[in-house]
Each structure stands twice: as structure tokens, then as C-alpha cells.
Symmetry: none
Subunit: 208 residues, 4 copies
């Protein structure tokens, strides 16, 4: 018989995760101590350990919740680009999706998510548990993307000759690269670069 109902528990957990996200983003995994999370969350040391078994688990759980966003954004945007007849303008969708991802980097929360994300990969490289999660997230994103592209091909928007796996790989990794340069290296994307980048991706999809 739990003394705290489910809702209260979830709320407490969220407090911890939000605080941890903040400090992990700012200080990185290694430089973040449990005391940082304690201070930021206002929850006691022992308290954190009733919700999570370790620092790594806190880190992992943040990753799991945050990493859905990119693919969710794509799915959500697809709804917006569907007209009354159920037709989706895939070209416009992709173009705007890529742009909005890169433009959103000026939003501090998105920036922090990007920072966290790369920090996560940095740690995940050496931690099998994390690595698995990270791989899944990549493949999940890949699936969603590939689906849109595939539908875009079927709908006649994209070239039939593109290799889905190659294009998917390019989009995901170059997008990551732009975000990395911006978020981690701290080098801001020049004005024209976003458009130029989007066009170069479109040149592949449209097989210009």
C-alpha cells in the first residue's frame, strides 16, 4: 500500500529528472555529482535513491524520455502537412522539418537537450546498457524517417532511385553534425547555412 499515490510519485520523479537534466546538460555526466542533483531538485540524497538505483539510471531515464522528441516532431508535423483529402505534401514536410529542427537550436531548452544528447552518446559509447538505448533511439528515429521518405516516394514527391538507408543515414548524421557544431562546439549556424543545407538534402531526395 503505497503511502504516496501514483501521481505524487510521478511528480517527485519528474522533479528529480528535470533537475538532473539541467545539471547534466550544463556540467556533463562526470562533473555532475549527486549533490548537484540534490541541490537543484530539493530532494534528499536518500530520496533520489528511492526512485532511481544509481546516477546512471537517472541519466538513462532522462535520455529515454527526451529522445523521443525528434521523431515525435516529425510525426506531428506530418499531420499538419496533410490536406483534407488525406494527401501529405512530403517535400514541404521534409523541408520544413529539417529547418525547424535546426532553427529550434536557438531555443535554450532545445539546446540543452542537444547538449545532453551528445553527452549521452559520449557516455553510451562505453556503457553497454546505455549504448543499447542509444542505438534503439537511433533506429526508431530512422524508422520514422524512412517511413515518411518511403511514403513520399510512393506519393511521387521523391525520386524512386534514392537508397532509403543511405539517405536516412545522411539526414540523421548530418543533422546531428550541425547540432553538434552548434551545441557542443558553440559555433553558431550562419544565416544561409540552414537553407543551403536543406536544399542539398532536397537535391538528394528529388534526385536533381
Amino acid at each position: 500500500m503505497p503511502k504516496l499515490n501514483h501521481e505524487a510519485k510521478t511528480k517527485r520523479k519528474k522533479m528529480i529528472l528535470d533537475a538532473a537534466f539541467k545539471v547534466f546538460s550544463q556540467l556533463g555526466y562526470n562533473d555532475t555529482t549527486m549533490d548537484h542533483i540534490v541541490t537543484e531538485s530539493g530532494i534528499s540524497k536518500g530520496g533520489i535513491y528511492t526512485y532511481f538505483t544509481s546516477k546512471e539510471e537517472v541519466f538513462l531515464e532522462i535520455a529515454s524520455s527526451r529522445f523521443r522528441k525528434r521523431s515525435e516532431l516529425l510525426l506531428q508535423m506530418r499531420q499538419d502537412y496533410m490536406d483534407q483529402t488525406g494527401q501529405t505534401h512530403y517535400e514541404l514536410l521534409m523541408r520544413d522539418y529539417l529547418k525547424s529542427i535546426l532553427q529550434s537550436l536557438s531555443d535554450p531548452d532545445v539546446l540543452n537537450t542537444a547538449k545532453f544528447s551528445f553527452e549521452f552518446w559520449s557516455i553510451a559509447t562505453r556503457e553497454p546498457t546505455l549504448n543499447q538505448v542509444a542505438q534503439q533511439r537511433y533506429h526508431n528515429f530512422y524508422q520514422v524517417l524512412a517511413e515518411q521518405l518511403s511514403e513520399g516516394i510512393d506519393a511521387g514527391y521523391f525520386s524512386k532511385n534514392i537508397h532509403l538507408d543511405a539517405v536516412g543515414y545522411i539526414i540523421l548524421s548530418t543533422l546531428d553534425g550541425m547540432m553538434h557544431t552548434h551545441a557542443i562546439m558553440g559555433i553558431k549556424i550562419p544565416n544561409h547555412a540552414i537553407d543551403q543545407y536543406v536544399e542539398s538534402i532536397m537535391s538528394i531526395l528529388l534526385a536533381l
Copy 2:
């Protein structure tokens, strides 16, 4: 009158750096202890401190020596793509340069350098000293790249309408992204992706 001549010292330093590079690449900066470097190098704890003042300095020195490679490769390739009349085939140069960078990731040493490089960025985000070095390296690479592109424009190979800073940013960051996905995320580049990627970059340069 030093007992070890310059050559012997350099050799010993190299032993330490090579060992450190190996463990840093594998374990990352934080998980690498001086004991790891001691074991791997075969040099005593104190011995390492006669050549370096701290763990960070070892890390930094590796970075400084390894980071020149990418821009050096470009400069070197330019020599190879110059014909007898002193004309350089810039289009071919860029195409082959991008390909060779990405293809070289199958080489374990290059892979480790890539891993080390991202590890370096991860740490450099929080360490002003390292960050400065990292930024310099990026801008140095940018300069070299921009020069080639600029010459390529003048020689009529690339479109006059491209924005050097935008294109430079895209090339550097997307290249990083591909390397990151390959080296850190451990997701190998699909066969066609390299060519496809190169063509998309060329589509920008040629303003197709």
C-alpha cells in the same frame, strides 16, 4: 647537460602519448586513470609527470598533434591534384577529399582519432583551456577549406553564388556528423551513403 638527448626524450614522450591515446580513445577522458596510462605505456607514475604536468596536459598534447591531420590531408591532396601547368582540378579534389575522409573511418587508427576527437570536444565544452584549442583547430580547418573553395570559385570550378561561410560550415559539421555516427554511435556508413553525401555537397558547390 641533459642526460637524455632530445631524440630519446621525444621518443619517450611519444611512448606515453601513444599509450595515452589508446586508452583515452577506448575509455574516454574520465574513465582513463593515470594507472591505465602507466600500465599501457610501461612508464612509471612519476615518469609520466617528468614529461607532462597533468593528465589534462597529456590529453591536450594528443589533441594538438592529432588535430592537424584533417587539414593537412586537404593541403597535401591539393598538391596531388595539380597538373603540370599548375592548374588544380578543385572539383575532383573536393570530391575525393570528402570520400577519402569518410572511407578512412574503416582504418582503426583513424577511427580512434575520431573517437578521441569527439571525446576531446566533450571535455573541451567545460574546460576553457581545451575549448580554446578546440576552437582554434576548427577555425584553422575552416581557413584551409575556405581557401580551396575560394580558389575553386576563381578557377571556375564552383559557383560564384555560394556563400563561403555557409558552405564551409555545412561541410565541416556534416562531415563531423557522419564521423560521429560512425565512430561514436558505432553505426557504419552504408555503401551508397558516402557517394550520395559527396554528391549532395557537390550540388551546393556547383549550384545545380
Copy 3:
């Protein structure tokens, strides 16, 4: 809401300080390791660091608490040498004060305090933070002493012609010297020396 109340904390802190005082007195600052304090206090390595931030702070805190004693003794004795009319017999006071300071050196705890005190000065010479504390302690003691002497002059016990600063300096430093010879050099004060010393100081005060 602290789990340990103030009293319990103070008690634990005292345990550490007592243990540290013991080992510092015996081994000196440099030869005392945190492990010595751990062993002597029975408190874990980390535990000590919850109460003190460094070895130096432990040392300093001991100094701060022990150093008040000499001037406190003088002030307390003054109360005892005051008769019903509020008159203090300053000559007797000074005589007995000097004697009791030197005689107390046979008490092991006083001896250890003396040892600690000189160890403190030895370290304080090179550590600005400690030095400041040490200087303050000297001047505080000087103030208290000068006050008694001044009052003794006004009350007609001591000569009007004495130079307070000179006499104060002599008393403080020669007292220190006797204590040093006894505590550090381990050469016990001969029977008659205490009386002889006290008389020589009185000969100054009384301007014989």
C-alpha cells in the same frame, strides 16, 4: 531539517578536533596524515570532510579554540584577586599568573597545547591565512595583558615609568621562550627558575 541536532554535531566535531589535537601535538602538522586522524578519532575519512574542508582547516580550528586560553586565564584570575571593595591586587595577580602559566606545563594537556602552539607558529610562518590568525591571537593576548598592567599602574602597584609595549613584549616573548624550552626542547624548568624568572619580571614592573 538536519538529522543530527546541533549538539550531536558539535560533539562529533569535538571528537575529531580532540583526536586531531592529539596527533598534531605528537607528530606535528606535516607528519600527521588524515589517516592518523581517522584512526585516532574513529571517524571515517569522508566523515571528517563533512565537518572540515581540509586538513589545514582542522588545524586552524584547533588553534582558534586553544589559543584563547592564556588570556582567558588572566582575566579569570583577575576576578579572583579582586577584594570586596573591588580593588585588585595587581602585583600578586601578575606574580601568580606567571607562576601558574609556567607551573601548568607539568600538566600533559597544557604541555600538548604548548607543543601544538609552537607547531602552529612554525606552519603559520609560511601560510598567510594561519599567520593572520596567529598574529591576532598575539595581539589579543597583548591587549589583555596591557590592560592589566595599565590598571596596575593606575592603582599604584606598578611603576609609572615602565613602557607598556616594551614590558608587554618582554613578558609575552620570554614566557613563550620558557614554554618553548620546556615543551619543544624537552628541557624541564629547574625548581628555582620559575621564581627567579617571576622576580625578574617583577623587578621591571616595580622598577626596582
Copy 4:
């Protein structure tokens, strides 16, 4: 067959001792590293170990050579205070001896010797070998002093009723105390204090 003759060896040893004295005085025993001595003396690390077996031995040897000075000064001054008939004015001798000891503290070299001396005692407290040397030095000084006092009594300068051991103890330890306050605590002796101090000692000797 030594390659270096005795003179050259002695010179080299002196270089080490002078350098070591300088750094020991300034930094104290513990904070002085062999590298400091190496740098200051210009003699190699190994070189020092051909003349001394350890850091402690260097320290000890300095002590042994420097510690004679105080008693030597007294003996030398006695010569100066002897008139043509072989009579020594012991009262004047003692007065001037005490004064010159305290006044000499303004000389940097004497000040350093005093600093070194207290540093030596600080270490000697815990090191039996050093402690023995230190004790010997004290007793040697005591002997010389007692001899002068004894002769002074016989010659009718000093009171027959003084206890040699008590007076000797007082002179040696209070002198040390004044020097300690000046050299270690860094509190300069006030103008009148030296005279006042000397008179108080004389009041004992003359049994005023």
C-alpha cells in the same frame, strides 16, 4: 685516490649547505624539496647524494655548523672584555652580549639563522637523531654561559646567591623567546624592550 682533492670537495659541500640553508630558512624543512636545493646550489640531484645521504642529513649538518655561533660569540666577546691584567669585566660582558644577540636580529643572515634554528627544533622534537644534536647544542651553550657566570661570581661581579642552573635556563630560554617572537612571529622588538630585558636579567645576576 679521490679525484677531487679535499679542498674542492669541501667547497662543493659548502655550496650545497649554503644553498640548503637559504631555502630551509625560507621554506622550512617540509616545504623544501631536494629540487629546491638542486636549483639553488647548482649541483645535481645525484651530486648532493654523494655528499649527504639524505635530506635530513643536510639539515642536520647545517644545524651542527650554525649552532656553534651563539656560544662562540660569547667566548670571543670575553676576550674583548679582558683588560691587560687579564681581568674580565663580566657585568659589562653579559650586558653587551645579550644586547648584541638581540640587536643582531636586524641582520638578515642572523634572522635566517634564527628561523632555521626554530625550524630545526620543530623537526628535532620528533626525530631522535636531530633531537640529540639539539640537546647537545643547548647544553654546550649552557656550559659556556655557566662558565662565564661562574667566573663572574668568583670575580665578585655577580651575586653569590644566584642558582646557576636557574639563571642559565632563564637566560637561554628567554633569549630564545625574544628571538622566536621576532624571527618566527615576525613581531619586531620595540625600541626599549632590549634594554629593559637586559636590565631585568642583570637584576637577577646582581641580585638587586
